[in-house]
């Protein structure tokens, strides 16, 4: 195992404090993977700074010594984005977890990157505000990680993904330069530097302060749960709801396999265990307007073959209807040794056809594939259940994943809707981009990171 030169360790400790430079193998083990546990690698060290100036000094030191860095938030990423080679140092943001400004008057907040997504909404709540992007991992993932992945969530159907809400950034480049990009209250030049940084997966620099827009909490929320015998029917209901011009806050589908996993777990939400799909439809906004929208959605579900449509009257009932969706990953984690959460998007109308084909792929490779997804956005999450110690099965997972990606791309979609490319999907990039696009991406990275010291080996295939 590589080790950090002693003098460098000392200098790093001088910057952040000795407690916050981790070099013991035991402690580094906790950083060997992110949420995609199929890839593991122990970093050279982990450094946990608490401020922009500490990050800048740490980066200066590491870049002068030619050591590459990998930013890391909570490590919930699902594409191996925070995976660090044994020669790289992880810069963790867990100590940078202060909400620096909550400016209710202007509906904005400035936070350090290690702030947990859900905490921001909690803190904003007494002011009648919340932070809209709500990844299903929101109780654990960080705003910095969300910025890097341009994360989405169930309610992004109506409200849009992270990039819509990030208005300004303080970033530190590999060389330690501190740059201010954008800002809700000012404009600097015409190029959208904030826009191109969001979604850069830690490859351009590290975000050390994030300014975000907050939204007023909707006055009222109404939630429906529609049960279907066939998942294609649930997909059709989604298309008709959207096609008639309704804009629900969320439209989420869980398939039969997932329903059964959840119902068999402590999270059971009372979904019929023999159902083959459940569709959660949520509307929010002004009380008066919701009733009519809900009625239209109910009739769309019925016309698409729903066997039952439930609605929630209280907040507890609402939680219950959401249970099957929100606890899906947790419940599935219990029934399989390993779980590969895939992520791809297709134009919404292609959902029924693509879902059928995914199930055929599962049958062909004899793999259990469970689907939980953001249906309104056409953002699929086929979850492949497998056992990593079975090398034959591992190979099948790889082949099935590739087929699913090709299928989604052929249907007019793409290889990732929200989890990012990271380490995992580099080899799929040529499915959606030609050489010139990838070269341009590399050149743009080089503008931000001329020495290629940020998050090496991610996003772009090695030969670009």
């Amino acid at each position: 195992m590589e080790s950090l030169p002693k003098n460098l360790a000392r200098d790093l400790k001088n910057i952040v404090g000795s407690k916050w430079v981790l070099t013991d193998r035991d402690r580094l083990l906790a950083y060997e993977s992110d949420g995609l546990t199929a890839y593991r690698s122990i970093p050279l060290a982990v450094v946990l700074p608490e401020s922009t100036s500490q990050v800048s000094n740490v980066f200066k030191l590491l870049s002068q010594n030619g050591i590459k860095v990998v930013p890391r938030g909570a490590g919930t990423g699902l594409s191996g984005g925070a995976l660090a080679e044994p020669t790289s140092v992880i810069i963790g943001t867990s100590r940078m977890n202060t909400i620096l400004e909550l400016d209710a008057d202007n509906r904005r907040a400035v936070v350090q990157p290690g702030v947990i997504n859900a905490r921001l909404s909690e803190v904003a709540s007494p002011f009648g505000l919340y932070y809209a992007p709500d990844p299903a991992s929101q109780s654990a993932c960080t705003i910095g990680g969300n910025v890097a992945e341009n994360s989405g969530g169930p309610h992004c159907l109506k409200y849009g993904v992270t990039s819509r809400y990030v208005t300004g950034l303080t970033i530190v480049t590999y060389e330690g330069q501190v740059l201010q990009l954008g800002g809700l209250g000012r404009e600097r030049g015409s190029y959208d530097l904030v826009g191109v940084f969001v979604g850069s997966e830690g490859c351009f620099g590290i975000a050390t302060e994030v300014e975000v827009k907050l939204l007023p909490k909707p006055e009222a929320v109404q939630t429906l749960l529609a049960i279907f015998d066939r998942i294609e029917d649930a997909g059709r209901a989604v298309t008709s709801i959207m096609a008639r011009g309704l804009l629900p806050a969320a439209l989420e589908i869980v398939d039969g396999a997932t329903i059964r996993a959840v119902e068999a777990s402590v999270f059971a939400g009372g979904y019929p265990a023999d159902a083959n799909a459940a569709l959660v439809v949520e509307f929010d906004g002004i009380e008066e307007g919701l009733g009519a929208d809900v009625q239209k959605a109910v009739s769309d579900c019925n016309n698409s073959g729903a066997t039952e449509v439930r609605s929630a009257a209280t907040s507890e009932e609402r939680q219950k209807l959401w249970q099957g969706r929100k606890k899906a990953f947790g419940a599935m984690g219990r029934i399989a040794t390993d779980l590969l959460v895939q992520d791809a998007t297709v134009p919404r109308s292609k959902l029924p056809e693509v879902l059928l084909k995914i199930s055929e792929i599962g049958d062909r490779y004899d793999l259990n594939i469970a689907n939980v997804f953001h249906a309104g956005d056409g953002n699929l999450h086929p979850n492949i259940l497998f056992d990593r110690s079975d090398s034959e099965e591992l190979e099948k997972v790889e082949l099935a994943s590739t087929e699913i990606m090709k299928l989604c791309v052929a249907a007019g979609g793409t290889i990732t809707g929200e989890h990012g490319v990271g380490h995992d999907k580099k080899s799929y990039m040529p499915l959606v981009y030609g050489i010139e696009e990838m070269k341009a991406m590399k050149k743009v990275k080089t503008v931000f990171d001329p020495h290629h010291g940020m998050n090496p080996g991610k996003v772009l295939p090695a030969d670009i």
Partner: protein, 439 residues
């Protein structure tokens, strides 16, 4: 310059315009050597390749109505490559709420096509109905609706860009969620043609709202324009725009007081309730109500408020400091010609923190340039001290050069120049960089 080479690439009559006659493609008193009207992406690629070989400076364009925007001062241009003949709507998938189009399609043409499907693109850039979609994205032009629906960048799902060195890049896609690779698509909004020619766009659509209602308020002793806007912004409902108008800016409002226009785009069932919530916040201050096409027409005319102004300044600030800044724009009065009717006007999109200051007619006495530049720079300092920024969007070129559109970009200069070189290594599109403001 031997334009016969261009005629080989663009053989159809009218594709290479060299003699301008009635048509005016000059900008800041500079006339391009030729204006080109390609019919295909291949033609654009060939033109740009040829331009690279010969070191000819090019500028992409749409219909050429806003070539005198702030980013084009100092821009050396031999050839203008106009997208106006590439104006087909290629695919409209109502079920998937997207449209794919050539960049020369005008916003008006698009909205007319979408209407039967009860869909629209909620963008309201200032300027004429002949604005092309490519230009709206390239200039990141937007109006009051940005409050509720976002800026142009939030509506673009995908695009094709032919870079300065003639490479074709297909960016983004057809789906709303897409995080495959770095988001270069975002760079096109606000690129002002310095990265390449945007040839195609895939735009996200929205359902047309059932109800369109505008409430017009006039300020009074108890409620200033900004305090009204502030109260309305904090209504617990999503409002599509909250604009503050200087007295007399629009005839629908009384000429003595600052006005506030609020637009509600909602379902029929919700619109009254939203109105009631707003009125509750404004202590039931009387207001004028415009519905449906009247509401639409009001905002249509509002978006063209600045079209005759000599100078347009865009201040970006947090809403909470807008009140101060509105008072302080009085400092710009010295720029206004004595006989100017409208004088100094403003239009603010409160929640978006946009304050547009319009100078109808500049005072052009002997040392107007030095004085105006000094006043504007001082005012920029005043704005920046309060955390905001001042962009000189439109002005006589001499003034733009003195004041510069943005002021200094300091440490971001290197990044911006680096990005230009990525897409345009020989700098045929950005010979005078947009960002070397102090040069």
């Amino acid at each position: 310059m031997d334009t016969s080479l261009l005629r080989e690439i663009l053989p159809v009559k009218g594709q290479v315009l060299e003699h301008f006659g009635e048509t005016d493609w000059s900008f800041f008193s500079r006339q391009p050597r030729a204006v080109l009207f390609p019919h295909s992406q291949e033609e654009i690629t060939s033109v740009l390749s040829l331009a690279n070989e010969n070191n000819w400076n090019c500028m992409p364009a749409g219909n050429g109505t806003w070539l005198e925007g702030c980013m084009n001062t100092d821009r050396e241009v031999n050839l203008i490559v106009s997208m106006s003949k590439m104006n087909n709507i290629l695919v409209h998938e109502p079920d998937n709420l997207f449209v794919e189009l050539e960049a020369g399609v005008t916003l008006e043409q698009l909205q007319v096509t979408l209407r039967p499907s009860k869909q629209w693109l909620p963008l309201d850039p200032p300027g004429k109905n002949s604005s092309t979609m490519g230009a709206i994205i390239a200039t990141s032009s937007c109006g009051a609706l940005q409050t509720g629906f976002g800026r142009p960048r939030d509506h673009v799902l995908g695009a094709t860009l032919i870079t300065g060195d003639g490479k074709t890049l297909k960016l983004g896609g057809k789906t709303v969620k897409n995080v495959a690779g770095f988001d270069l698509l975002k760079l096109l909004s606000g690129s002002w043609g310095r990265f390449g020619v945007i040839t195609k766009l895939i735009m996200r659509l929205h359902p047309l709202p059932e109800a369109d209602r505008t409430l017009l308020f006039s300020s009074n002793q108890a409620h200033s324009g900004t305090s009204l806007a502030h109260d309305i912004m904090h209504t617990p409902a999503t409002l599509q725009s909250i604009s503050i108008l200087s007295p007399g800016l629009r005839e629908e409002l009384d000429s003595e007081n600052t006005g506030v226009a609020v637009r509600i785009l909602e379902s029929e069932a919700a619109v009254d309730q939203v109105e009631a919530l707003i009125l509750e916040r404004t202590d039931l201050l009387p207001c004028k109500r415009l519905n449906g096409s009247e509401s639409e027409a009001f905002f249509e005319s509002l978006k063209n408020t600045d079209t005759d102004s000599d100078v347009v300044i865009r201040i970006k600030c947090l809403p909470s400091i807008m009140k101060n800044l509105i008072h302080q724009i009085e400092a710009l009065q010295s720029l206004v010609a004595d006989d100017s009717l409208g004088g100094l006007q403003f239009l603010a999109h409160y929640e978006s923190g946009i304050l547009l200051v319009l100078i109808d007619k500049l005072k052009l006495d002997d040392d107007w340039l030095a004085q105006s530049a000094e006043t504007l720079k001082e005012f920029r300092d005043t704005v920046e001290q309060q955390g905001g920024s001042l962009t000189l969007l439109f002005a006589p070129e001499a003034l733009l050069k003195e004041v510069t559109p943005w002021g200094s970009l300091d440490e971001l200069e290197t990044l911006c120049a680096g990005l230009e070189k990525v897409f345009d290594p020989n700098q045929i599109l950005s010979r005078s960089s947009a960002h070397r403001s102090a040069e």
